[in-house]
Symmetry: C2
Subunit: 153 residues, 2 copies
């Protein structure tokens, strides 16, 4: 596994994302490690990331699906050169999450993602979120390369 | 339109949600107003809710779909007694979001949601997020009444 998270391989001006940008002081700092085949990560929600008492907020889980999925698409695109310093930036065209069972608030979450399919410019990524050894949520992201219209000036 | 947001009609112990709980000091405080037919809301993302410079983070938009959709399901279930002080609590079984076009960061967002379908215990809610008069994202939430296993002791 590459020691450098995928999100640390995005360009400086593309690293402000609330979910995963290293340049966002108030953000979640979601990190994805690419092992050449899948994106792996760990994330411990903060106490305020509550839904109902004892459980993790679904919107936070959707954020994990989003940033971890997009990073996995980007790393897969960068190819086996997993140590390459610069990674292309993808954005999310759509996402979906199935909340299979409640996610306990407290334990570290484990993230796993892989490319399921490529369709033209679209990369479809599957994401699994586990806690205490059980899969709690399954998500899917359709990622596309960042359009030039979104590129910072 | 009822002046009291749906989220202020949930029980005290069910109001800690990061997205919409009035008892979460660090949360987003998403509010839904039920007009007897649809859920309506407004939300201005904070500067840190950035994706790429100039645009709103997709995970934040997914959070809006989540809490606004679930509240709309709950309010529709409470029925025409829109002023009823107590609203049943629903949770999210699944959600999906299509990011139709980038959402500018800065302007207030407009939220609209309505029940599309009921299937047994499931309520399917459609959600639209607009900015500057254009629909930016469309989401769908499958909401179910809070299971007794999630009820705080």
């Amino acid at each position: 596994m590459t020691s450098l998270p995928v999100q640390h391989r995005y360009g400086e001006e593309l690293s402000h994302c609330y979910g995963c940008g290293r340049n966002n002081a108030l953000g979640l700092h979601i990190e994805t490690h690419w092992d050449g085949r899948q994106g792996l990560g760990r994330f411990t929600p903060r106490p305020e990331h509550i839904a109902l008492p004892g459980f993790v907020y679904g919107g936070l889980l959707a954020s994990l699906v989003d940033c971890h999925g997009v990073a996995t698409a980007a790393a897969a695109d960068a190819g086996d050169a997993g140590d390459a310093r610069i990674c292309p930036r993808y954005v999310t065209a759509s996402l979906s999450v199935n909340f299979l069972r409640p996610t306990p608030l407290g334990p570290e979450l484990e993230l796993r993602a892989w490319v399921k399919e490529r369709r033209g410019r679209k990369t479809v990524v599957e994401v699994e979120i586990s806690a205490l050894g059980e899969i709690r949520a399954r998500g899917e992201v359709v990622a596309v390369p960042m359009p030039t219209t979104m590129k910072p000036a």
